[in-house]
Amino acid sequence: MADSTRTQRTPVLVDGKALSARTWSILSGIGLEVYVVLALGIVALVAHGFNMFNYPAYTLLDDEGIYTGQAWAVLTQHRLAPFTFIYETPPVGWIILAAWMGLTGGLHTFGGSIDSGRVLMLILHLGMIPMVYGIARKLGCNVAAAACATLLFSLSPLALFYQRFVLVDTVMLFLALLSLDLLLDGWGRLSRVVFSGVCFGLAILSKESAVALLPGMVFIAIQQRWRHQGRFAFIGWVTPMLVVVSLYPMYAFLKGELFPTFDVPLGNLSPTRVSLMNTLFWEYLREGGGLLNYSNQFWELVRNDWFKRDALLLAGGAVAALINLRRGISSRQAMAVALLSIGPLLYLARGGMVLNYQILLAIPFLCLSLAAVFSVVLEKLPKPAMVASTLTVVVAIGLGYWSSGNLQPLFSEYPVVAGRTSTAWIKENISPESRIITRDDMWTDLRAEGMDGPAFPYVYTHWKVSSDPAVRDDVFKQDWHNVDYLITSPNIEKEFIASKNTVALEALKNAHLVKQWKSEPGTQGLHNQQIVELWKVDKVGVTETETLKNSGKYIENNFSQQGAFASSDGSVTALSQSNALLRAVWSNDRAGFNRTWAWTKQNLQNPQGLLYWLRQNDIITDAHTATHADNNTALALLLGSKLWNDPELAAAGTRMVKAIWNTEVLTIKGKPYQVAGDWAATGQGQILAINPSYFAPYAFRIFKDVDPTHNWQAVIDAGYDLLFNASKAPLGYTLSAGLPPDWIGLNRYTGELSALQLTDKTDTTRYGFDAPRVYFNIALDLRWSGDGRAKTYLQQAGFLKDEVGRLLQDGVTRKGLVSAIYKHDGSVVIEQPNLVGSAGAMAALLTLDPGAANTIYSSQVIGQVGHNSKGLYFGDQQDLIAQEWGWFATGLYANRLTDFWHNTTGVQPVKTGIESQGGRK
């Protein structure tokens, strides 16, 4: 080596002639090549940049999320990874990504954290344009061939698709190409050789697959020695490269994580300790079949992915590489190109684990190989033919790509929508205190504060839950009960099973879908339809606490004025006031209770102590009473009196109970029935109006304590009888679906039930906006009293169970909800569900079918929440009733509707809806 060095004045690969091809001269000089490179840069900018935030979907590849997450850890935690770093990939790539994020003002300057990374990828790609061009020129290609290589590098659908992803492979390529460009410097500066070595070392530390380029690089480093550099030429490249690379094992050594742990056979990862060498052996000893095994992952990807995206680059490049290898016998430039191209292909084909995006490593060198061959062909043509041939080839390739249809989706589709909207929704609506198992791609944006949402400190990727003891054992304690939500995509269960992720698997089995987001399916079948799902684990936790708190806040902020809860038309009903009083008791909000009660007492109470139904614009517009409002108010007063030990409230409640009996209870054939209001009791007709959803046995059990002079137990018994009968009676239909009707008529003389005729002639027998409250009331009674009738009644809600499980027209999807209104025979009147209906169905099914109840709760209660500055709302922001029933449903599910009358120990311990289904005996 020494002698040959000293005899050659200039190196073999790049000589004086090539000086004109130096990037430096391109940038600083004038002439055609400046414009060529500028034009190529503009093409690259448009091709790579246009629609790059939307395509490809970042939900397509875990790795984007992994690298941005690790960059986030570098930036904010000054660690190499947010969880235990296991040396899977060396860290320089995401350290550079972190630096980029730091310099550009954080993770979310360009949208999501992955968007920020994609901007960096664009910049790196643009940086590689002059390098690919310059390298092609320095390795003997003419201007036309070099330009074609660069164009291919920017326009190949295969290159474009994978280069847009945030991958450390692209960082590695940038550094490797920079190293190559410097090494091929036409001046022979030793400092550039050294810098080239440093860059290549950094390339290996960005992605270890860069070692595949080593044979080519070493060949060039040896061939490219200059006489004046003496023995320092090659050494000056190798030493800095090795020094930089050695920092990685040095880091591991200093952490005590270099050597194999020996607690597992070589090629396996230790379950308890991290070791760089273990990881390396694990990665490179994986079974995969070898180059000639056509079923290995490499050939699989060639057939099913890479070839489909760009057969020209892959097949043409490989053939060109072989031609260059043959030419390399007489041309060292051709040999250099051949080695650089074949190295990556052999590396990928070696067997073992190959991922689809790893083709990135080969792409620029396949372009170079093609260009080298094309250049030779062009050189043999006369000049006019050269130009014509070049133009023909460029146009033909362009048309070929376009007609293959692989290019258009890159610019016109938006598969990112599912990931983007789901992240935004979760950030807005899920409690940040929740423990979430997520996909990698969404981890960073959830974990970091920003994007108009808080940080979720307890969000973990499912890989870490399966493999990192610090997460699996310390955080989740190997128990699915410690999970609140899962963010998944279809078929993720397979990954859970493959990684033996029992925590995630069990959690998913015990979870129900809250929401699903879908992107439009791709038109070209180049990737699967992107679907993101949010699953809530069936247990009470932080979600319920936060939901109750923030929903209460919203109702207070949006509907309350000095204790009056007005709906959007300004009307205040006795019911909204009574509901507010109950919420205040169950939330232990004494001030809110006092405010509401003071207003109610002053503005709605009639001389008997009951409440006028409606007040509008400071005028009582309906002076009748409504029994359920009076029941609720009396209950709230009595519960409050116990909770806050307030005899005044007890007195007020007692007075009201007595007034209810006197005004709203009628005895028919020896049984006391509670009718719908004072108007129903005083009407002269023979049919009494009864609303089954006013029946509040849980309250009557307290009323009988404060009003022992009346037989409230008989009211409970009569009410239950009526309920069973009304639900069973066909009421004019050929059969009953078993649902309670909104209204029922009771013959005051015979005690017979019939469909109630109201003046507006609506069908009062339907299961509409009132009747679902029956199930809520009965479920609460079961919870508080354990009355067997309650349980029996709830178990008759088979119709609702069937509705939830009913197969839709596609024969696959289940309905998963109950509709808003049904006729008494069960036919649907209004399909679209509402909160009252969902709350009622959930209440019914908590006993009959907890799974179905959780389906409804997850998707129709939690899945309907939204947030704004006033708090959390359900469904329609302006619908007070929806807010009330969202709150009550959550309260019932979380068992936060406490019977303070009988249980004076204050707030009850938390029980899940499922656990407490049997109720308190």
């Binding site: 030793l190 400092s191 004046h228 030493t239 880091y251």
Partner: protein
């Protein structure tokens, strides 16, 4: 991060940066083709035009002085354009006697352009001797050779060519220790010269701040006289005059052609080596203290002067630092990134070792030598002890300078080794003016 962590990180980065800079200076000659071409001697010579005065300062050099005189008068240049002045302290009767014998011998053969000058007034040191010689110099250009030097026969032709072609007022030609395999530390000592004269000097020349070498330096006589000659108080008068010349923006041409280097030998013992190195280090610290470098015209010149003159201090720190970082590595729990940072200076040490190993082959190849298989192994094992020696000498120099111990340390010369260590006693030195009293001048003519 605590303050001690920050200090450790800062210190490591600073030391790493200095090591990287130092490595880049070592490799400057190999950096580009222009540096390579510029450092070589001209391939053709101009006709002799300049006249030279060769100063041969000597003290107790009985063993080698006659050979040296012979080599100097044998230089291939017209004798009428060469004046050789052997300058010796009057009390050194042994050397004087040998010189007189040699001059008589030469005179008998018609060679008369060599003379002996002696001086008796203090300080008895090399710069004093040089100043005495400068007074008597008649040549256009004054140069210095030491008593054990082996200058190339064509050195004057080469310098004549450079000075006339390029109008260079000052030329520093390479000096090279040659006996790389004599002692365990020889190879590294040889390589220090190799990298200094072949590489780093060119960088200094390019910046315009050159601490000149002790010999084979050629300066226009009138320029030297205008500068006031050498500083008789200074332990490294050569570096000092270089900086003073740079102060005046005098361009200094450096040439290191492997063929034309003046050959010298390494000190014979570790003791000698340490004393020599201590004196150089202390000399640099003296020059630093004098502050002439502050008058350098540009900031890069001043920074380079500061860096160069501070090298004993840096070396002292470099000696202590690896011990600290190794200790911290094993006994203090550091955050891993910080631990990696503290390792960087050790990394740079490895890089210096690699450069030295490659340099060994560059050196032997340049001089037509064939290193044995053991040479690199020897170098490998001697590398750290040698750094220890350098560090010890640096610490010793700093210590002596702080204590004001500027006296010459008497060393024993055993033959063909460097003899610039003229006995000095600058504690009683006079102000830095040329001492012109000529005592016991003897002119011997055949």
């Amino acid at each position: 991060m605590s303050i001690s962590d920050l200090a450790l990180a800062g210190g490591s980065l600073l030391l790493t940066a200095q090591s990287a800079y130092s490595a880049s200076l070592m490799l400057y000659a190999w950096q580009g083709e222009d540096q390579h071409i510029r450092s070589r001697a001209p391939e053709t010579f101009e006709p002799p035009e300049l006249s030279f005065t060769i100063l041969l300062p000597a003290r107790h050099e009985e063993a080698v002085i006659q050979d040296t005189i012979q080599r100097v008068v044998d230089l291939d240049y017209p004798h009428e354009l060469v004046q050789v002045l052997i300058v010796i302290e009057a009390g050194d009767s042994g050397t004087i006697e040998k010189v007189n014998q040699k001059l008589a011998y030469l005179a008998a053969r018609g060679i008369t352009h060599a003379r002996l000058l002696t001086f008796a007034d203090p300080p008895i040191n090399k710069p004093h001797g040089l100043n005495v010689g400068l007074q008597e110099a008649t040549g256009n250009v004054v140069t210095i050779f030491d008593a054990e030097d082996e200058p190339h026969p064509n050195i004057l032709k080469m310098v004549n060519t450079l000075m006339t072609r390029e109008h260079a007022p000052v030329v520093q030609s390479g000096v090279q220790l040659m006996n790389y395999s004599d002692r365990w530390f020889s190879a590294l000592n040889v390589l220090e010269y190799f990298f200094w004269f072949k590489s780093r000097m060119h960088y200094h020349s390019a910046i315009g701040m050159v601490p000149l070498g002790g010999n084979t330096v050629f300066v226009e006589r009138d320029l030297l006289r205008k500068m006031g000659g050498w500083d008789q108080q200074c332990l490294t008068e050569d570096a000092d005059i270089g900086i003073r010349l740079s102060n005046q923006n005098v361009p200094i041409r450096v040439v290191y052609d492997d063929e034309y280097v003046t050959r010298e030998e390494t000190p014979p013992t570790v003791n000698q080596f340490i004393k020599q190195r201590t004196r150089w280090n202390q000399g640099f610290l003296q020059v630093l203290g004098k502050g002439d470098w502050l008058k350098l015209p540009s900031i890069p010149q001043r920074l380079l002067a500061l860096y160069t003159l501070c090298s004993p201090l840096i070396q002292a720190v470099l000696t202590i630092y690896p011990l600290i970082s190794l200790w911290m590595l094993f006994f203090v729990k550091l955050p891993t990134p910080l631990a990696v940072l503290t390792m960087l200076p050790l990394y740079m040490l490895v890089i210096q070792l690699v450069i030295s190993l490659v340099g060994l082959y560059e050196f032997t190849s340049a001089h037509g030598l064939k290193p044995s298989l053991f040479s690199p192994i020897r170098l490998l094992f001697s590398f750290l002890p040698y750094q220890g020696l350098l560090g010890y000498a640096a610490l010793r120099a700093v210590f002596r300078q702080l204590r004001g111990m500027n006296s010459w340390e008497k060393t024993v010369h055993i033959g063909a080794h460097r003899t610039t260590e003229l006995t000095k006693d600058v504690s009683t030195a006079l102000p830095p003016v040329i001492h012109i009293s000529k005592v016991d001048e003897e002119v011997v003519r055949g």
